[in-house]
């Protein structure tokens, strides 16, 4: 069951320049879905389309299994969002900003204190939000998104402007909301490292196209498939002969020979053959690509 699905979502700026092409997003209910891509890949455009901030051109958007356009009010009643930079009335305090939303959502007044406590801004008093640091503004924006206890949270780069501690706190907060309240969270970022410890699912977008979508397990599988073995010896040419006689495909990278990960017994056997031929063996290792390298490879 999915909280958000898009079918062939396509968007062109000024009807010409294609910025999104056939995006088929599937955000499972109860998941934390990391929406990854470099700057300008189309993340914000996708999220703005999902929230109705941009007029849909081609494709379908379904949220809670309902078409967005026909059920906008019902869907937004259950959705909290933060798109790009914080949206706050600079001349008002944190409480006054939240009171504006409290009137619209008709939630209890005590909810203002609750959400301020959740994001750690309960002691800001009458200070106007215009005087807040970017991190404080970002946290208050999260509080605004949480005001009506939504089922779905859509956050566009929520860690922008946060210091390392703030990033960790935000990560913990989102994990807690997901775990305790079962909130489905769609969070975009351009840094995999920033969200890989938190998300259950991931979608990678580049140049307006969704190039990977799956669970974190599936991404780790891709990581495993991209691992390789590395042999470094004193005589590359003779080593190549040994590998050929054993029927192993390899690639030469300078003084190293790269190949798919071999069985333990085969590694030992090749090592023995090399030593018997008086070839010095300096290194036999398995090189594992980290997720960041996979992400970079995917978006190249």
């Amino acid at each position: 069951m999915y909280s958000i699905t898009t079918n062939n979502l396509t968007y062109r700026f000024n009807g010409k320049e294609t910025v999104l092409s056939d995006i088929n997003l599937q955000v499972p209910t109860g998941s934390i879905y990391g929406f990854l891509g470099p700057n300008g890949a189309g993340k914000t455009t996708t999220l703005r389309l999902i929230l109705g901030l941009l007029k849909k051109q081609d494709g379908e958007i379904n949220i809670f299994n309902q078409p967005f356009e026909k059920n906008r009010i019902d869907i937004l009643r259950k959705t909290g969002s933060l798109i790009e930079s914080p949206s706050l009335y600079a001349h008002l305090s944190a409480k006054e900003n939240l009171a504006i939303l409290q009137k619209v959502y008709q939630c209890k007044h005590s909810r203002i204190e609750e959400v301020l406590k959740i994001v750690g801004l309960e002691n800001t008093g009458k200070k106007s939000t215009g005087k807040f640091s970017l991190g404080m503004k970002q946290r208050l924006s999260i509080a605004i998104a949480l005001m009506h206890e939504p089922e779905l949270l859509i956050l566009d780069e929520p860690t922008n402007g946060l210091d390392p501690n703030g990033i960790i706190e935000m990560r913990e907060l989102l994990k807690q909301l997901n775990k305790d309240l079962g909130m489905t969270i769609l969070v975009s970022s351009h840094l995999l490292a920033e969200i890989e410890k938190m998300v259950t699912h991931v979608g990678i977008i580049n140049k307006g196209k969704l190039i990977f979508q799956g669970t974190m397990g599936e991404l780790h599988e891709a990581q495993h498939q991209q691992s390789f073995m590395c042999f470094e010896t004193g005589n590359v040419e003779k080593s190549k002969e040994v590998l050929k006689t054993n029927g192993i495909q390899f690639q030469q990278e300078g003084s190293q020979l790269h190949m798919p990960v071999l069985e333990r017994e085969l590694i030992a056997s090749i090592n023995k053959q090399l030593v018997e031929q008086d070839i010095k063996v300096y290194q036999i290792s398995i090189v594992k690509n980290d997720l960041e390298s996979i992400f970079i490879d995917l978006v190249k």
Binding site: L51, G52, K55, I73, S87, L88, I100, V104
Partner: protein, 255 residues
């Protein structure tokens, strides 16, 4: 109900805002000048001399100083400040992701602008009353003798308010359309100044939506005797509001 909640929410945004200060200071400014003038010279409403009713004379004197330039300018500034608040704070996207129909957002915002204008009228009339009463109490140690012309007071206020509507609607339209704060202010002031130059010199000046407030006090010249400026105010108001609404609803990018 949703509209009422939305209006309450929009009204909260005006707290401590430049527009609310403008409304308070702008409303009390001219009456305060009169009050200071009376007290400084030790005068009261009787200074208007042999007139039918000193309150009426005072009312027109105070309003005349206001309607020609300060009132339209205040409307231009306040409407632009309130409407542009969303652009300035980058909050259109926040507002448009709340579960409110677009027509509710649109009308709640405009009703708040109307509310601010009424608040301005309240401050101005309060100032007007005090500028008449206080000097009498201080100098003559009693309230003014003249009967207060309630009917004329309310009718004139209503008429002036009607002439404000096309200006409010036009400024609302421009402020919704353009992100740059200078555009609605610039266009508004340019039209106002052009109208004031033409008001005594051009027989078709009634075509300008900014001409009706000055014409209320200055009186319509003979060449415009068949023109009902209040009807024209309403026509312009309805036209501008329809255009604003269609433009707002059809906007492809909502934040």
């Amino acid at each position: 109900m949703q509209l009422i909640n939305s209006i309450k929410s929009e009204w909260l945004k005006t707290r401590k805002s430049a527009a609310s200060w403008l409304c308070l200071i702008g409303g009390l400014f001219i009456p305060l000048i009169f009050l200071i003038g009376f007290l400084y010279n030790g005068e009261t409403l009787s200074t208007y001399g042999e007139v039918e009713n000193v309150w009426t004379a005072h009312f027109f004197q105070v309003w005349q100083s206001m309607v020609v330039f300060l009132l339209p300018m205040g409307l231009i500034l306040a409407t632009s400040l309130i409407t542009q608040m969303e652009f300035r704070n980058n909050t259109w996207k926040q507002l448009h992701t709340t579960p409110q129909p677009y027509y509710v957002i649109f009308w709640a915002k405009f009703i708040v602008i109307i509310g601010m204008t009424l608040q301005f009228f309240f401050y101005f009339n309060l100032g007007f009353l005090l500028s008449g009463i206080i000097p009498s109490l201080v100098v003559d140690k009693q309230l003014p003798d003249a009967t207060f012309p309630y009917s004329q007071f309310f009718t004139s206020n209503w008429k002036i308010f009607v002439t404000c509507l096309p200006v409010l609607a036009l400024q609302f339209l421009i402020s919704l359309r353009f992100k740059n704060f200078l555009v609605p202010i610039g266009v508004g002031l340019m039209l106002l100044v052009a109208t004031l130059i033409l008001v005594g010199n051009w027989e078709h000046v009634y075509l300008s939506p900014f001409s009706y407030s000055p014409l209320t006090m200055m009186g319509t010249p003979e060449t415009m005797k068949d023109i009902n400026i209040y009807n024209w105010s309403c026509y312009y108001f309805i036209t501008f509001m329809v255009i604003s609404y269609l433009m707002y609803i059809r906007k492809a990018e909502k934040g």
